[in-house]
Symmetry: C2
Subunit: 196 residues, 2 copies
DNA sequence: GACAATTTAGGACAATTGCCCTAATAATAC
DNA sequence: GTATTATTAGGGCAATTGTCCTAAATTGTC
């Protein structure tokens, strides 16, 4: 594992941040080149087209997400605790979410609207969370509707991110996170689940 | 009330559709002019800047939304029935939502990412739904947490729209709508509300 | 029908876009 | 060392962007 990041890595990282903060289309070659402080020619040497950078960024995000999920798998003692890690992202990234929304949701939405071919790849990020969450719910003894519960939780966190971004309300996120945790608790072995 | 729509109205309508389907930034002057079949010069006569059109589109959407809410106020016999109208949009606009997402949420998100000044105006659309829903929950006897319930329901419909758009899953929308209706039922007078 | 105001068309503008080329430099191999 | 490759810089490309101008056409008023 090399300690020094390559120019290519720097480009991908800068693009990752800019795509999140400004959106894919709103970010230009020049923006990324400026951020990395390289010439546009050098930039072109590493990535022929804008789609290539997008692809690299998506792959980076997929890898980072997978690492995060693996980490949660280690840290969380119980499935419930692991799922709580997921819910907790809303708190951890509170200020970013309020400014830029959810990185997964906003990219997916933007690409869908452009009918961009990479939209399918972007959905992989959602799928990562979806299957991981479904696994946890299966471990909780809800194998029959594990995927439904995963999608339900995903949707709620997406909705919270969208509204927090629109209204810029700090308290609101914490409020909904509390509700989500209560909802989760009702799916733990000893509690009777409510209909949601 | 004139029966014939002015060129200006046609422009706003076309822009409304294109902004929804392609996004604000992804839609150019030429796109709108082509859709209305007028010259760019004529276009400029009606709207000096792109922000002007955006403003007009937002105003149109606010007006249309207000009309819709007023209509629901008439049609819905009980507050519960009225709220059900809101939930039902997800079914009514199912195919559009799967292709383009929620018109309110996606515009708000896009403008936030561009740090566009009109983002505040776009949030008015959310506020319209928010206050209307809160009124209904107040009528249901939940005046203390009416706004919280309104935000909760708004968030869930936003989340469903985002995921339906990402995964293009028809059944999923209907599934979540059922859950939302059950949740709503638990807030009706005769039922014991669950914690959500 | 003459006249003024409104509306339209078509083109031009500077700037920016994604993309591409070439030459110079740095790193590596022999 | 020299030769080969990898990397970088800087400029330039055609196309598109939002914006603007001017002249023609249409409309309405008297």
């Amino acid at each position: 594992m090399s300690n020094t990041k390559s120019t290519r890595d720097h480009i991908i990282e800068a693009a990752d941040h800019l795509f999140y903060q400004q959106g894919y289309e709103h970010t230009s070659f020049a923006d990324i080149a400026d951020a990395v402080k390289i010439s546009r020619g050098n930039f072109y040497y590493h990535f022929k087209t804008k789609d290539d950078i997008l692809n690299a960024v998506i792959n980076l995000r997929v890898a980072n997400t997978q690492n995060m999920l693996d980490q949660w798998e280690i840290e969380g003692q119980s499935p419930e605790e692991r799922i709580r890690h997921f819910i907790q992202i809303l708190i951890k990234n509170q200020s970013k979410i309020m400014r830029y929304g959810c990185p997964v949701g906003t990219l997916s939405t933007e690409l869908a609207k452009m009918s961009h071919s990479a939209q399918t790849d972007a959905t992989r990020l959602f799928t990562l969370f979806r299957t991981w969450l479904a696994q946890q719910f299966t471990s909780l003894g809800h194998s029959a509707d594990a995927d439904d519960l995963a999608m339900h939780l995903l949707a709620r966190s997406q909705g919270v991110a969208t509204l927090a971004n629109a209204f810029r309300d700090e308290n609101y996120i914490e409020q909904e996170v509390t509700l989500m945790n209560e909802w989760l608790k009702s799916y733990t072995v000893n509690a009777a689940p409510h209909t949601q």
